[in-house]
């Protein structure tokens, strides 16, 4: 049995020895390097592109919008984003034209010698300006998407309530900071196939985008191959379509393979970020802490083009009260356009933003009510049989109580919270604080998304006389290994479903010429949904092949292949029954399954330097069943540290709408000395609809660390913070010049 075991990852040796090949490790004969010339202004109109007279342009390939054979559009949700700007410039760093050269030094020089001459216009800087809609970027009101949830009778309850509280929260952007920058290698093969190999999460998104850019109808005339990918976190969900189009256009124009690798500064400045925004929570509470009604207003900044903003908003809204029960809920969510590089997918995808606000809101309400933060969670968290904000009735899959109590016990939360609450804040010893967050994460695409995707996975058996059993298997899916261990867990699932050893299983790296479209590698769906398809396909083919219990697997397979030519099964996703979702009213079963988690973060603030040191991090998470406990722990450890980065270190400084501090020396992500070991407790509440009981894992770990950290700093310092990031500078700004309550006893 491989599922549940800490087997060595199938790619461990290649990665530790430096043998794994990422796109920048690849080259082709006659290869050129490609670069993008970008808008120098935040908003404007292109007058002309000037190529300097004092530069030798021989051997430099130039691609402009007019060179695009198909549509000048990045296919995604709506067709608003161009591959290359033609007239209008909507954000700083918007791509205008492309250059390629054999010598990278000459290419750099050529970029500097290209000038985008434009007429500047007054930009829309922020959400308020966007909503005022004096300048229209998108439609009449600059709103990419608006969502409403209305449950029960919020107005009546507020009218009746004595204890109401309203709080406003602000969350900044966050950069995904995959350690491998964006990159693509494009070539047009001799038989005219537009082929790109690169760093990506969703091969079929890129495939669809390239078909449109090149005006190609035949699926076989575009081929997308995933190279080993050095991290994605959503940053390589939709963005790769744009860089792939750029590299491929240069390959077409030059007639040579083109490699385009972003350097870190370009990557940070020009690519997508986590949506920043403002969230207002207003709640009515009973004296014992029960949340009677809640009115939530969310506004996110989507940047200049739509990209995935409607879906980010959707998840943000659906997770606004993720772990809690409330009979009366009113939510308005909007995502708006501004003149900045478009924001996009980043692990959590809207949930970290609303969970941040929700958790701090509950802490503030608890204090008003005179009860503890854990008490208010206990009064309100979901239980089996409860209904969510969309009216979805939950079943035994709810683990809110278990993860809360297990985490609290492991972190000694109640004893510490009481001790720190009553401790005076003295000038010569650390001020301590402990914070807690409780949250859920919906797995898979929302509502009927998975049904629409109709993802597929294939398992193919072959005769392998070189293997002990003589039988080998290949798993074919478009799920991209990006570090999350999909290669290994798919092999484990297939091995157990087929009754073969792990070493007999090959998981093919996605290549659209070879694998079916399983849907994108996003939304915490890879293990639960696609892994489920792999399990079913494996069981299906082994059942079809092994019809004679007397024969060996090898003999049965040989027979089967002789009769049928090939031994494979493809499974297509089918929605579970009784899963109804109304996209217009936002009511029904939003997700087939939810993960549950509780994070507890403890800090020590140095009264002299005001540095907030993270001294303990505990998390208990329910992911159904851990297919590979080491991989699951790794995902939780990594995601939690990313959440701590979002909370304490990572500030995107904006100038002219774009990231100004686009250097690793200026945008700080946690190092090994900035965070302690994350202590992980797994709670396994098996989900019947997932492979071997597994649910999703990818995103939930990043959802709740930020409010737990901020809550801890609030307790330690005696000040309320309602924003992210809560950097050392911001803590200092608040404290310096203010009176610190040395008595304590206030938080």
């Amino acid at each position: 049995m491989n599922v549940g075991q800490r087997v060595r990852r199938t790619d461990a040796v290649a990665k530790t020895t430096g043998a794994a090949r990422y796109v920048d490790d690849l080259s082709r004969d006659g290869m050129l390097y490609g670069a993008c010339v970008r808008s120098p202004v935040q908003r404007g109109r292109i007058l002309r592109i000037e190529f300097a007279d004092d530069f030798d342009w021989r051997g430099i390939t130039i691609v402009r919008a007019s060179d695009i054979p198909g549509e000048n559009v990045v296919k995604l949700l709506i067709d608003d984003q161009p591959v290359l700007a033609e007239r209008e410039l909507r954000h700083l760093h918007e791509p205008v034209c492309l250059l390629a050269a054999e010598d990278p030094y000459r290419l750099d020089a050529a970029v500097k010698k290209t000038k985008v001459v434009c007429e500047e216009k007054t930009p829309v800087h922020d959400i308020d300006a966007s909503l005022a809609a004096r300048t229209k970027i998108h439609g009449d009101d600059n709103i990419f998407k608006e969502i409403h949830i209305d449950k029960g009778n919020v107005a009546a309850v507020f009218a009746d309530s004595r204890m109401t509280i309203e709080e406003t929260f602000e969350v900044g952007p966050q950069e995904q900071l995959y350690i491998e920058p964006q990159g693509m290698l494009a070539e047009i093969t001799d038989d005219g196939v537009v082929t790109v190999t690169g760093s990506l999460q969703c091969p079929y998104y890129v495939h669809r985008a390239l078909k449109a850019v090149f005006g190609i109808d035949d699926d076989k005339k575009v081929r997308v191959i995933q190279a080993e990918t050095g991290g994605g976190f959503g940053g390589k969900e939709e963005y790769p379509s744009l860089i792939a189009a750029h590299a491929a256009l240069l390959a077409l124009k030059s007639g040579r393979p083109v490699k385009m690798i972003y350097d870190r500064a370009e990557d940070m400045a020009a690519t997508t970020k986590r949506h920043p925004g403002e969230l207002v929570y207003r709640g009515a509470f009973a004296k014992d802490g029960e949340l009677l009604a809640v009115d939530i207003d969310i506004c996110l900044d989507g940047g200049a083009y739509c990209t995935l903003s409607p879906v980010v908003l959707s998840r943000c809204v659906l997770h606004a009260l993720s772990a809690y029960r409330c009979a009366n809920v009113k939510i308005r969510g909007r995502v708006v356009a501004t003149h900045s590089p478009p924001n996009g997918a980043f692990r959590g995808f809207g949930a970290p933003q609303s969970i941040f606000a929700c958790e701090l809101f509950l802490d503030l309400a608890a204090r008003e009510l005179g009860i503890s933060p854990i008490e208010i969670r206990r009064r309100n968290h979901l239980l089996p049989g409860d209904s969510t904000t969309t009216g979805q009735i939950l079943d035994v899959g709810v683990s809110a109580q278990e993860v809360l109590e297990k985490a609290a016990a492991a972190a000694d939360y109640e004893k510490k919270w009481n001790a720190y609450r009553n401790a005076p804040r003295l000038p010569d010893r650390p001020w301590r604080g402990i914070g807690l967050s409780l949250f859920a994460h919906g797995n898979g695409f929302t509502g009927s998304g998975e049904k629409k995707l109709a993802g597929r996975a294939t398992v193919r058996l072959s005769l392998r006389p070189d293997l002990p059993t003589g039988v080998g298997a290949v798993v074919l899916s478009s799920s991209a290994e990006i570090g999350q261990g999909v290669r290994t867990i798919f092999a484990q699932i297939a091995a157990d479903a087929l009754g073969l050893p792990l070493a007999a299983i090959d998981v093919l790296s996605p290549d659209t010429a070879e694998v079916p479209d399983s849907g994108p590698t996003v939304a915490s769906r890879t293990c639960m949904i696609v892994g489920g398809l792999v399990e079913k396909a494996a069981r299906s083919i082994v059942k079809a092949v092994r019809i004679d219990p007397e024969s060996s697997f090898f003999e049965s397979l040989a027979d089967y292949i002789q009769k049928h030519g090939v031994a494979e099964a493809t499974e297509t996703y089918v929605s579970p029954k009784n899963v109804e979702w109304d996209e217009d009213t936002y009511r029904g079963a939003a997700y087939p399954a939810f993960g549950w988690a509780c994070d507890i973060v403890e800090v020590e603030v140095d009264p002299r330097t005001l540095e907030a040191k993270i001294v303990d991090v505990v998390t208990c998470q329910d992911v159904g069943r851990a297919i590979h406990p080491l991989i699951v722990e790794g995902q939780i450890e990594g995601g939690t540290v990313q959440a701590l980065g979002y909370a304490a270190f990572e500030e995107v400084v904006i100038q002219d709408g774009a990231m100004f501090n686009n250097r690793l020396s200026q945008y700080i992500i946690p190092t090994a000395v900035d965070v302690p070991d994350v202590r992980v407790i797994l709670h396994e509440n098996a989900y019947a609809g997932g492979p071997f009981g597994a649910k999703g894992i990818g995103e939930m770990p990043i959802d709740g660390g930020a409010p737990a950290y901020v809550a801890a700093v609030c307790q330690a310092t005696g000040f309320d913070f309602r924003e992210l990031p809560l950097t050392p500078e911001r803590i200092a700004e608040r404290l310096v010049g203010n009176v610190v309550d040395t008595r304590g006893g206030d938080r």
Binding site: R6, R8, R9, D11, A12, V13, A14, K15, T16, T17, G18, A19, A20, R21, Y22, D24, D25, Q176, L177, Y178, I179, E180, P181, E228, T229, G230, G231, G232, F233, D263, R264, A265, I482, G483, Q484, G485, L630, I631, E633, G634, E637, G638, G639, T640, V641, Q642, R663, L664, S665, I669, T671, A672, V673, V675, D677, V678
Partner: protein
Amino acid sequence: MKIKFRVNGVDFEKDVRPLRRLLDILRIDLGLVGTKEGCAEGECGACSVIVDGDLVCSCLIPAVQIDGADIKTIEGIAAEKGIAADLLTCMADSGAAQCGICTPGFVMAGMDWLNRGSACDDVRDRRDEVRRAVAGNLCRCTGYVKIIDGIAAAAAKCAARKRAD
């Protein structure tokens, strides 16, 4: 300019621009692509190599500085036996690599720490020392726990072997 240098025990002579980065000499001129580029400003450590016994960021080392130098890269470490092989085995087993792009750099940092002798002195918990030794390497996937596990396990293995001898 002409420079002479040794990489993983093999001698080279090259004619390069004086400011050509060591990272590019390794990856492009010598085809040793195990050393990775993450930031080009010496912050992420993905380009770590060992030059004349010191752990450095190869993206910050110009060609002029490696004339006469003895350089070790991940490819060299991967070919070695003994403590280097232990380190690679321990890191492969501990789950140190998720996406893997930072891993060669961490192997170099771990190797540099293990080379400093005292790392194999005894079998007590060395996690805090390891943590400091890899503070110059950024990882976005792992949260560092299993990287530290792997390097600490290699030290424990080395110490156990030293005691047995």
